[in-house]
């Protein structure tokens, strides 16, 4: 325990030390044969450095002033200060302080942090068979390293902000100067600075807090765990946001279509990639509309169905005691239950649940006459289709907005489905991402931006950055000259 002079006892430093000492992991002790004292949180520092560097230098050199210690310590960023808030912050982030109990109570602050972090691993939600296999981790510095090594230019700027009264989360806003629109950068920084919240755990907190429309189910900033994807997005002129402790980065401004673009689209050849992107878009439409159309048609418009198909539906639905609406809601809920249970459970049990729920329950439900197997196929395909979206958050949105569609289908048949679709479109039209239209390039119509939307054109056609991002410099590279027109066979 501290031997206390009366003068020291009244100092601010002593009060700080006293406050800290209430925690069991705080250490503070005097050195043998030396006027100096050392204090630190043992859970925040690397004890090897203290033993091998700091304490060793006292034994070898016997310094008498803080300046002398600063000169002989083989550690950079050592500072001498008497600013108490600074000292407190430094203590809390893995620094140790060295001080004397006489004189002016200056402290030598030595950074010896011990940082616990996960190894860089493979991406889980955005896994691709080809391409890089690195994913972001929970350490901000590692994440910035992963991005910086992909864009090794001084124009890649990192603006660091601090958010959260309790968590003091470090936020990094990353963009390429000269490409990114400064207006977008300002918007992001302003909105982050405006955040009033005590504890920020993840970038998805930020994503919700700085969204243009906080009540929309659609995320207005895209989140990714792939450094390569983020680097590509930064090169387009978008802005990336990291937060300490989050293994995902968010970026914007985005448009709706970006959510259906997998990074794999850029790894495979453009026509193959475009085909699969179209498939994904079709899957989304199918997922949204399939069940509601089933309900609408079977409830109101059975005349629409050709006779051959109708007989099949009658045999399938003949013994079902519920109206199509109830049947559909039951099945949709069951599938959502399965998904939710699977997501909450550990992987191995989750698989079992999938098999039990999917196969056993499905078969049993059909055999018991609770649902028709046609609807089972429709609902299961719809659920499957919703999972084809590369961004997880959007796939939940798509599954969720099916329910209002089913409700409207029950109320007004296919007209109801159209009404619900109109509502959805009106919402999407109003939506913006960092103030840029969300439905671009469809509305406002920018034909030029279709080169990387519904389809992905080859790289040599992507010489200009998308209009939506309003990049300062739209030219990505010099476009090659068009091939000469006057070629001929065998020339």
């Amino acid at each position: 325990m501290l031997k206390t002079d009366s003068a020291f006892h009244n100092s601010e430093l002593a009060k700080l030390l006293e406050a800290c000492e209430e925690s069991a992991d705080f250490l503070s002790f005097g050195l043998q044969d030396s006027p100096f004292f050392i204090a630190y949180f043992k859970t925040l520092v690397k004890s090897e450095i203290i033993h091998h560097e700091v304490l060793a230098c006292f034994q070898a050199k016997k310094p008498s002033t803080l300046e002398e210690i600063k000169a002989i310590l083989p550690i950079e960023e050592v500072s001498i200060t008497d600013d108490m808030t600074d000292i407190q912050n430094k203590l809390m982030t893995g620094n140790l302080i060295i001080f004397k109990k006489e004189g002016n109570w200056n402290c030598l602050v030595v950074p010896v942090p011990s940082v616990e972090k996960r190894q860089v691993a493979t991406p889980e939600t955005e896994y691709t068979v080809a391409g890089p296999k690195e994913a972001f981790v929970e350490s901000l510095d590692t994440n910035l390293n992963l991005v910086r090594k992909r864009l090794p230019i001084p124009e890649l700027l990192v603006k660091e902000l601090m958010v959260g009264k309790l968590s003091k989360t470090r936020i990094a806003v990353v963009y390429v100067k000269g490409i990114a629109d400064p207006e977008n950068v300002n918007t992001v920084i302003q909105r982050i600075n405006g955040i009033e919240y005590d504890e920020i755990a993840d970038t998805s907190f930020l994503s919700q807090m700085i969204a243009d429309n906080k009540n929309s189910p659609f995320p207005q900033l895209i989140d990714t765990e792939r450094p390569d994807r983020l680097a590509a997005v930064l090169a387009e002129g978008k802005i990336g946001i990291f937060s300490e402790g989050s293994p995902t980065a968010i970026s914007g401004p985005v448009s709706l279509i970006t959510y259906f673009a997998a990074f794999e689209d850029y790894l495979s050849i453009w026509n193959v990639a475009s085909a699969f992107r179209l498939l994904r878009l079709f899957a989304v439409l199918f997922s949204i509309l399939a069940t509601s159309s089933y309900v609408a048609i079977l409830t109101y418009h059975y005349e629409m169905i050709p006779r051959d198909v109708l007989s099949l539906l009658i045999t399938s639905r003949g013994t079902i005691p519920f109206p199509p609406f109830l049947e559909a809601i039951l099945l949709e809920l069951a599938i959502e239950l399965l998904r939710e249970a699977g997501a909450r459970l550990p992987t191995k049990i989750g698989q079992t649940i999938g098999i039990v729920g999917g196969i056993v329950l499905g078969t049993a439900a059909v055999q018991a006459g609770l649902t028709s197997n046609v609807l089972l196929i429709v609902v299961a395909t719809g659920a499957l289709a919703s999972f084809t979206t590369p961004i997880y958050q959007v796939s939940s949105v798509i599954r969720l907005i099916r329910f209002p569609f089913i409700l409207f289908a029950q109320l007004l048949g296919l007209v109801g489905v159209a009404v619900c679709f109109a509502l959805l479109i009106s919402h999407l039209l109003k939506l913006t991402s960092l103030g840029r239209p969300f439905l671009e390039p469809v509305f406002p119509l920018r034909v030029e931006d279709f080169k990387d939307s519904i389809i992905r054109m080859p790289f040599n056609k992507q010489a200009l950055r998308p209009l939506q991002i309003r990049a300062q410099n739209r030219q990505r590279f010099q476009q090659e000259a068009l091939p000469k027109k006057d070629w001929d066979i065998d020339d």
């Binding site: 006057d486 001929d488 066979i489 065998d490």
Partner: protein
């Protein structure tokens, strides 16, 4: 006169084998028997051999002409007869090759209409076929050589395997008595047989595209030998399998032979075979059309990519106009006669004319 093609456009000499086979071994294999048997009956196979030998002689002449001229036929014509008459000769040859292409396209469509899809519209199939031809020719000569080579690999093994099926039913006695016909009859039959072996005249146009072209002559002869032997085998199998009257009755005896193939997993083999024969048709049509457009480019500096479209459209229109079996037959017999003149009159004429002119030049 165009510059000679650059080295990277040329192909190795041995590809001439496949090119010659592609030109000669086409749709003829299905239907050539009847016309020959008509004249010489069981001695038809002798006519095949004589025709083969005569074609070898003609091919030799072709190579002599080209080796001396060291360029393609349009240039040689110009050298020998001047721009006007020479151009006329070249144009005639081009028209002849393009008409051959029309005849092949229409015959194949007819085959499909008779054997697979009776309702098939001619224009529809012609459109598809010629679009395919366009895709190949637009890629240049090397691509055409590629399809010739690959189609050889695809089609010939199937063809000879299929000829093995009638073995059990064949009667050697059908071939006897040998030499039962007069020389005049044999020569008439030989004349008809030559038509099946026509098409190698395209070498007049692609000669400059062969690396070390004079050295490719042996491959040309191998190719002709291969086609001749194939025709001979087919002829002997047909003679031994069918009776003479049956052969005279059937339009496509080879397809009838294919019909007897019977696998546990497959019946009516000729559907598969006919579909596959598309490759064989494709390569001869490509070759003829390419040669035609190349010739037009030499003569009138027409861009090949433009003349190609015009010629394909004309081919399609011509194919559509040939409606009935009689019309198709008529075209065949016209081409039959024409090919005879081309091979046995025109080529020897050029050969001797060039030889005499060369000698005169040397002496003067």
């Amino acid at each position: 006169m165009l510059p000679l093609p650059s080295e990277n456009r040329k192909v190795s000499p041995f590809f001439v084998f496949y090119l010659i086979v592609a030109a000669q071994f086409g749709l003829g294999v299905f239907s050539f028997q009847r016309e020959i048997v008509k004249f010489v009956g069981n001695d038809a196979w002798i006519a095949v051999i004589i025709a083969g030998i005569s074609i070898h002689v003609v091919l030799w002449m072709v190579y002599q002409i080209l080796n001396k001229g060291a360029n393609d036929i349009t240039v040689i014509h110009k050298d020998l007869f001047g721009p006007w008459l020479g151009g006329l000769f070249s144009l005639a040859l081009i028209v002849y090759l393009l008409t051959l292409a029309v005849s092949v396209v229409r015959s194949y469509i007819e085959l499909i209409q008779v054997w697979i899809f009776p309702q098939l519209e001619t224009w529809y199939m012609a459109l598809i076929l010629l679009a395919l031809v366009y895709v190949y020719i637009i890629g240049g000569f090397r691509i055409i050589v590629g399809i010739c080579f690959l189609s050889f690999i695809f089609t010939t093994p199937i063809f000879f395997i299929m000829l093995g099926f009638p073995l059990r039913h064949m009667q050697a006695s059908h071939l006897f008595p040998i030499f039962d016909h007069s020389v005049a009859e044999l020569l008439t039959a030989t004349k008809t047989m030559s038509y099946s072996l026509t098409g190698f005249e395209t070498i007049f146009f692609f000669y400059t595209f062969i690396k070390d072209a004079p050295k490719s002559q042996k491959w040309g002869h191998y190719g002709t030998a291969f086609s001749t032997i194939s025709y001979l085998v087919i002829m002997i199998v047909s003679l031994m399998y069918f009776s003479k009257n049956q052969l005279l009755e059937s339009v496509w005896p080879t397809l009838t032979i294919w019909q007897i193939a019977d696998f546990t997993f497959l019946e009516r083999f000729e559907f598969l075979g006919l579909s596959f024969w598309l490759f064989s048709v494709l390569n001869s049509v490509c070759l003829f059309t390419w040669a035609g457009t190349r010739g037009l480019k030499q003569l009138y500096s027409l861009k090949q990519k433009h003349s190609l479209i015009a010629i394909l459209v004309m081919t399609a229109v011509a194919a559509v106009f040939l409606k009935t079996r009689e019309q198709i037959d008529q075209l065949s017999s016209v081409m039959d006669a024409l090919s005879l003149y081309v091979m046995y009159a025109y080529i020897p004429f050029i050969f001797f004319y060039q030889m005499i002119k060369g000698k005169l030049r040397r002496t003067s």
